[in-house]
């Protein structure tokens, strides 16, 4: 039977089989498994069928806990059911997994295995999650490559039906789930061949039905629970045999033979590595190399990890084995060894016929840490040592407990016939997409094997990508990044100054450079390091001005097609004409449905490329004086210099264990040291035109625009180009005002220009803020910014009066946007998307309350741009105060924040008790002042801080336990503001139960929901906040149900302060609502409209969209303030006018709605009608609540 060769990734391979062999699929997004659910949803939306010719039902749930509950129910009623997950998602499934296994239920969960959040979250791959689930009673089958994912998905499905044990089908997150590989596809008849129809019917027959009622889920007692638990043993005993038989059946049909344990290596091996997962491929590749040099080594690949078949394991291991290294891709702190190590030891002790081999265990590859042949060689070398190190680590330097093995990083087994190409690009230039196309071209149109793996940035704006592509005549087992590239393409010239892009170029390699400098000039513009490596490695250099070609051919900034054409032209992987024909074929396939104009511009770009591609004659010597600047400036703190800077430079792998915090505690305020210089254009202030309204400062998502009012005399030391003007506050007219831009931190989003209301009276096209090229301004504005930072912050309150008793009334109240611009932001330069709609709200909170705020942040975009290393944006003021921030999980954030509140409430209570207890020693005046302090404003807070200082001084040296306790608790006597922050995925879905409970608690917490109406961080899946008619992943046909009214639910409690805000529509209302929410002594919920890249909008127009959302009635602004009841007022106030534009005028500016019009206009029209009706109905309800006529 002919089976097509396809180039797909692991997620698609798993989803392919899962979709064809199931009837019900419950899904929930979590990286890196989300694409499996997305595939299933997409296929279901297009009515693709399973092997029985019917379309599986795909249901998105509110959490993994919800997904597994649904799966359990569907299984219990007889449907073939599956789900996909990873990491914390799998942990949320564990309670149900015990049930599913205990009830001997056939199902396969496909797991893109990922690290668990411990000292920090990680989205990357290891086996921590599945190892945490290993005791649930599920069979566990590990696939090591994309081909094996496809094959094992089927073998697992067949096995679960026969064995009745549920299966976890495991493959490594990212390394396998996201690796694009050429594999042989299975035919549907192959799948049918493996799935026994009688077993399917038997599964169905076990389903609950009132026609033949039975019950499951009983509560059992000491008399029978134990025995019941043992009833399943025969099934576990039988399973290995069943799986092997099915592997044999698979081999007989398809030709690929697998075993429960596959040994590869010398038949008389003395040294053997045992492991499972993608790392086994690298070991196998290394073993093949070492065998050719005569070494007696081998690798034993564990396929079926649970049930662990001792006899099969022992039979697979060569009897000559003398030393074994068992590698675990997980860490079980405190255990006598990691799980696989323990299993191997047990198996050997139980059944090895002769003297036991020496067994050592080691950890490798946590969180997708590279695992290379060099490391494998190091392990084999260690196995040859007289006393090999046990409980070792490989791939890191552990200078604390000295667990690591040394190895020679120069060792490589990369075959010379393989094309190894690295591409350095930007996310926005399309490099990765073009490379995925190149893999498909070579994989599917030639006999070559192909592999692609892509490394992404930790930032969402200005993100760098590195593509690793291998092409060769034999199957590729290199499950690690390219470290010897024979082709390096640098798609952004600026990378040459920031990264050592040629570190992995091998001698004689080709360098392709996108450069505005032509072949005659480019050499003189290369940094010294680059020139040196070109000469040292004798590289060939080609240049093209791809941006120019892109502009000429209508491609804008997307140079992908052009650079792809260059790659094919230079690399010779295909004959040039054939390559161009194939590129065009791929373009038509990829872009054809976006219209012929899109295809044509890509064709034009291909055709214009070759004439602009030039080889450069390399001079004989280095001529450049341009050195690579340090990653952080010399005045950065020591930790930033020693640790953060390494991560910024892409050298975090070199950091030893001792360099890193032991408990995940990191300093805040580190983004300021990472000057990314990603904006081509930056805002420039025109003081003459500016009306000092503060709107640009308010909306800047990255806090790069700031203003200060300060004493005139400070200007004496100002740089010559520093600008200032007279403040437009009457009471400050004697001082100076400056609006300063941090051009090195700006993302160039232009929100500031869009919001600026002041136009130049002579040229209305210019405003008080105008975009200009960054490069010519960089040096002068860097100096200006540094000077600006030295200017004292505007005082938040008037200084105390001379008698020192009380603060004078505040000179300025920060109750309007104009005044708030003068408050220092304590959230700056985040890695959020350029033009992010969420971050302005966070920045505003940080300005108002940052110096006494504790923030609980749900997992999601805000926890990633808020807490993703290397640098984090939450920072401190000059006094060292600032937001204390933490992220617990996705699902528990409200509870996490409540816990913080409870600590404070308890500690305040105890501290106040101690103050009273120690009153005689403290004196009545201080006691009374501490206990009765009004801390509602900054002056009050500062006065209390001073009293606490006084208190500490008085208590210092006291040995009385009460005094010492009060000394340790004194700081809680100054008021703290607890903020619970997260997105709609958290608030509406996975965290809603907790959110509801926390609001019901009545405690004084402030909840800020950054509502993008979609799961933004995981790539745009629908949440219950997604509006009717919007297209999202898991809602491909447009969301058929309306958006949940979270605010109204909270209002129903009566005691909750609730506000719905949209900064772009009414910034004054936003400010008012946030201030009222914070001031309210009880639970507050603020729901903030946050425009988002996942809406498919021009982000520069995000604030306009916010306005239109309000004007159309989609997003009514309101405040519900329970305090108003006491004064006889209606607590509910509408802060906007009745809808005055049709909904379509707002929604059809957004791709999420428009793409439904383009794909299914009838459905779009119908959903629009419903959505418009819903807008009117909601407005009528709100108007009635507000006591207005609708």
């Amino acid at each position: 039977m002919h089976r097509p060769m396809v180039t797909i990734d692991g997620n698609e391979a798993a989803a392919h089989v899962a979709y064809r062999t199931n009837e019900v699929i419950a899904i929930y997004p979590i990286t890196p498994s989300s694409p499996m659910g997305e595939w299933a949803d997409q296929w279901s939306a297009t009515r693709a069928t399973n092997i029985w010719g019917t379309t599986p039902l795909v249901q998105e749930m509110q959490s993994e806990g919800g997904a597994v509950g649904t799966v359990h129910g569907a299984l219990q009623t007889g449907a073939l059911t599956t789900t996909f997950t990873a990491s914390q998602g799998l942990l949320l499934m564990i309670p149900n997994m015990y049930k599913i296994a205990g009830e001997l239920t056939s199902t396969v969960f496909h797991i893109a295995a990922r690290s668990l959040a411990a000292q920090g979250l990680s989205i990357f791959g290891d086996h921590s999650d599945v190892m945490a689930a290993r005791s649930a009673g599920w069979a566990m089958l590990f696939a090591n490559s994309v081909q094996e994912v496809l094959d094992f998905a089927l073998i697992a499905q067949a096995s679960t039906l026969e064995s009745r044990l549920p299966f976890l089908h495991v493959f490594d997150g990212f390394r396998t789930s996201h690796e694009v590989m050429k594999i042989e596809m299975l035919h549907d008849d192959d799948i049918r061949h493996m799935i026994d129809e009688e077993l399917v019917r038997a599964h169905r027959a076990r389903g609950l039905t009132p026609d033949h009622p039975v019950m499951r889920g009983t509560a059992q007692n000491p008399d029978t629970y134990f025995q019941s638990r043992e009833t399943v043993n025969p099934y576990y005993h039988a399973t290995p045999g069943i799986v092997q038989a099915l592997m044999d059946r698979f081999a007989a049909r398809v030709g690929r033979q697998y075993h429960l344990f596959d040994y590869v290596g010398a038949p008389d091996a003395e040294r053997v590595i045992v492991l499972m997962g993608s790392g086994a491929e690298a070991v196998e590749e290394t073993v093949a190399h070492l065998l050719s040099t005569g070494e007696r080594v081998g690798v034993l690949k564990v396929r079926l990890y649970r049930p662990f078949a001792v006899e099969h394991f022992l039979a697979a291991l060569p009897t000559t084995t003398r030393t074994i290294a068992v590698l675990d891709r997980t860490k079980e702190p405190g255990a006598s060894g990691e799980p696989l190590y323990q299993d191997v030891l047990t198996a050997l002790v139980e059944g090895w016929p002769g003297p036991l081999p020496k067994v050592i265990g080691g950890r490798y590859g946590l969180s997708s840490k590279e695992f290379t042949p060099a490391m494998v060689k190091g392990i084999f070398d260690e196995l040859a040592a007289p006393s090999p190190k046990n409980h070792f680590t490989i791939g890191i330097v552990d200078d604390v407990t000295h667990s690591h093995l040394r190895y020679d990083p120069a060792f490589s087994v990369e075959p010379p016939e393989v094309v190894r190409a690295m591409f350095w690009g930007l996310g926005s230039d399309g490099t990765v997409g073009a490379n995925k196309n190149s893999i498909k071209i070579i994989g599917e149109e030639t006999d070559h094997f192909a592999q692609g793996y892509f490394v992404y940035d930790s930032k969402k704006s200005g993100a760098r990508t590195i593509s690793h592509l291998r092409f060769g005549p034999a199957p590729i087992r290199s499950t690690y990044l390219i470290d010897r590239a024979n082709f390096v393409a640098v798609h952004q010239f600026g990378f040459l100054e920031r990264y050592d892009v040629l570190a992995n170029a091998e001698p004689g390699a080709t360098l392709l450079l996108n450069s505005t400098h032509g072949p005659a000039e480019v050499w003189d513009h290369l940094p010294r390091l680059v020139q040196g490596k070109i000469l040292e490695k004798r590289l060939r250099l080609h240049v093209i001005d791809a941006l120019d070609v892109a502009r000429q051919t209508g491609m804008g900034g997307r140079i992908n097609t052009i650079m792809q054409t260059c790659f094919f032209a230079i690399s010779g992987v295909l004959p040039r004409d054939e390559a161009i024909a194939q590129i065009k074929h791929a373009i038509a396939k990829t872009y054809g449905k976006r219209g012929e104009a899109v295809v044509q511009k890509n064709y034009d770009a291909v055709d214009a490329t070759l004439a602009n591609l030039h080889e450069v004659t390399i001079p004989a010597a280095i001529s450049s004086t341009l050195e690579m600047p340090p990653a952080v400036p010399a005045d950065a703190p020591a930790f930033v210099q020693e640790v953060t800077a390494m991560m910024i430079a892409g050298r975090g792998d070199e950091l030893p264990v001792s360099a890193l915090p032991v408990d995940g505690t990191y300093p805040t305020g580190t983004t300021r040291w990472e000057k990314r210089n990603i904006a081509l254009e930056v805002p420039v202030w025109d003081a003459e035109v500016c009306i000092q309204c503060g709107k640009c400062v308010l909306v800047c998502p990255h806090a790069v625009i700031r203003s200060k009012v300060y004493d005139n005399v400070l200007l004496a030391k100002a740089p010559a180009t520093f600008r200032s003007t007279v403040p437009r506050w009457k009471e400050l007219a004697e001082q100076r005002y400056t609006l300063q831009v941090a051009v090195e931190d700006c993302t160039g989003c232009t929100l500031c220009v869009e919001i600026c209301p002041a136009k130049n009276k002579s040229q209305v096209g210019r405003k008080a803020i105008n975009m200009e090229a960054q490069l010519p301004l960089r040096d002068t504005e860097r100096a200006n910014w540094d000077f600006f930072l030295e200017i004292p912050e505007f005082p938040r309150y008037a200084p105390p009066t001379s008698d020192g008793e009380a603060a004078a009334p505040a000179a300025m109240r920060f109750t309007n946007v104009k005044n708030v611009q003068l408050l220092e932001p304590l959230f700056e330069f985040s890695g959020a998307c350029a033009g992010c709609g969420e971050t302005p709200y966070l920045k505003l909170v940080s300005q108002l309350y940052g110096d006494h705020a504790i923030i609980a942040n749900a997992t999601g975009c805000s926890s990633i741009y808020g807490g993703n290393l290397p640098t984090t944006p939450w920072t401190t003021n000059k006094a060292g105060r600032g937001p204390a921030w933490s992220n617990s999980l996705f699902e528990d954030n409200a509870e996490f924040g409540l816990g913080m509140r409870l600590t404070l409430d308890k500690q305040v209570e105890y501290a106040r008790e101690l103050v009273r207890h120690l009153a005689p020693a403290l004196g009545a005046e201080l006691t009374d002042a501490l206990l009765t302090a009004d801390q509602d404003d900054d002056a009050g807070l500062e006065a209390q801080r001073q009293r606490v200082l006084q208190l500490r001084a008085l208590l210092a040296g006291h040995t009385d336990p009460a005094a010492r306790d009060l000394h340790s608790l004194a700081d809680v006597l100054t008021r703290k503001s607890v903020w619970i922050v997260g997105g709609d995925g958290w608030a509406y879905d996975i965290g809603f139960g907790g959110l509801d409970h926390v609001m019901a608690s009545g405690r004084n917490i402030n909840i800020l929901v950054l509502d993008t109406e979609v799961y933004s961080n995981t790539g745009g899946q629908a949440s219950k906040s997604t509006p009717l008619g919007a297209v999202a992943k898991f809602a491909s046909g447009g969301k058929p149900m309306g958006k949940k009214d979270l605010g109204l639910m909270a209002i129903n409690y009566g005691h909750v302060y609730v506000a719905q805000i949209a900064m772009g529509a009414d910034d004054a209302q936003t400010l008012r609502a946030i201030r009222e929410a914070e001031a309210y002594d009880g639970p507050s919920l603020v729901i903030a409209y946050s425009h988002c890249i996942a809406h498919g909008i021009n982000m520069a127009k995000g604030l306009d969209q916010q306005r239109l959302a309000v004007e159309s009635g989609h997003w009514p602004l309101y405040r519900h303030d329970p305090r108003r009841v006491a004064t006889g007022e209606n607590p509910f106030q509408l802060d906007c006018k009745a809808p005055r534009i049709p909904l379509k005028q707002y929604i059809y500016n957004e791709t999420r709605y428009r793409m439904l019009v383009q794909s299914n206009p009838e459905a779009a029209a119908e959903l629009l009608e419903h959505a418009q009706a819903a807008v009117h109905a909601r407005w009528a309800r709100y108007a009635a609540m507000a006591g207005q006529g609708a």
């Binding site: 939306a45 992404y456 498919g1096």
Partner: protein, 338 residues
């Protein structure tokens, strides 16, 4: 009363034709136009530039932010098919032809040579009875001569005529150095009819926001004068059918158009403002007016007041301009006198 006329070789029941407008954007409203009495319907324009823009826009936003961040490699599901390009427009023509009885005239605004011809062919294949070329170039380039601009119009007409067999009308604008000569050249290039005139939506200034804003103003009867004059002057001199499409609001406007020499008058603003039923009302008023004055047919009056047939042909030309100015001075309501 015989209200019948011919236009583009099509026999029409009356000269009351619905011109391109949002009213021809759905099958439902097309039906209501026919039901209201339109004798033919000009579809809204297929804008090649807009089609391209939609394609590029979709491409842009589906590319935006993708493959940049490991957790969110894209943001939208792949919907498999997008109804881009002219598909929806052509489907509407086909649907209209299947369920309506009146002639359907396609309308096309192209930007590229290939776009004009390929879309024209598709409109013909979709079943349109005729095609109106909504062709205009805003001659804003200071380096492009009037002659070059005129040549672009003629090239488009020739190219389209070469690739379709259905009749082709050209909706023209009055801003040519020599209108009459241009009309003749268009006829020579193959135009079967000239539609006078294309109305351009001139932008306005928003003084509050200091923005240039688009400003759509529906026409009024007084705008009839310009096409009326030109039809009257060209009738009989340029061998094509004429249609008047600006300022037609009343039966009197229709009558004037016919007398100037038009074969049909087209309405959009009046229908948008006062409803499609205005077609029937105007038809009734036409019949009443003609009956009262003992006309037998529309044909009888077509061209009766063209320059060729009036007693004072010079009334259409420059001298007339002087009189108009004088008449302003005599008008007690004139703003000029205040």
């Amino acid at each position: 009363m015989d209200l019948s006329t011919t236009y583009l070789g099509l026999a029409l029941r009356t000269p009351l034709v619905a011109s391109a407008s949002p009213l021809s954007m759905s099958l439902g409203s097309l039906r209501s136009l026919e039901d209201a009495g339109a004798s033919a319907i000009v579809m809204h324009s297929l804008f090649e530039e807009q089609i391209h823009q939609e394609m590029h826009q979709l491409d842009h936003y589906l590319n935006y932010g993708v493959n940049s961040f490991a957790e969110a490699l894209d943001y939208f599901p792949d919907l498999g098919h997008y109804n881009l390009g002219s598909d929806a427009y052509l489907q509407l023509i086909s649907a209209a032809k299947a369920s309506l009885h009146v002639p359907i005239i396609g309308s096309l605004n192209g930007v590229s040579h290939g776009g004009w011809t390929s879309h024209a062919r598709k409109i013909q294949e979709a079943g349109a009875d005729a095609l109106e070329l909504n062709v205009y170039y805003v001659a804003a380039d200071v380096d492009v001569t009037g002659a070059a601009v005129e040549q672009m119009y003629l090239d488009v007409i020739r190219a389209v005529k070469e690739c379709v067999t259905i009749p082709v009308a050209v909706k023209m604008n009055p801003y040519f150095g020599s209108m009459a000569n241009m009309a003749r050249q268009m006829a020579a290039a193959g135009a079967d009819a000239l539609v006078l005139f294309n109305r351009f939506y001139q932008p306005d200034f928003d003084l509050e926001r200091l923005d240039v804003v688009p400003h759509l103003v529906l026409s009024t009867s007084h705008e009839l004068r310009l096409p009326l004059r030109w039809v009257a002057m060209l009738h009989g001199r340029v061998p094509v059918d004429f249609a008047i499409t600006t300022g037609v609001h009343t039966h009197e406007d229709v009558l004037k158009g016919m007398m100037a020499g038009a074969k049909v008058t087209m309405m959009a603003s009046e229908l948008l403002r006062n409803g499609v039923e205005r077609i029937g009302q105007i038809e009734a008023e036409l019949v009443r007016w003609m009956t009262e004055r003992e006309y037998d047919s529309i044909r009888q009056m077509q061209g009766s007041m063209s320059q060729l047939h009036v007693a004072d042909p010079a009334a259409f030309e420059r001298a007339n301009y002087m009189k108009v100015l004088q008449s302003w001075q005599q008008d007690p309501t004139s703003v000029l006198l205040r």
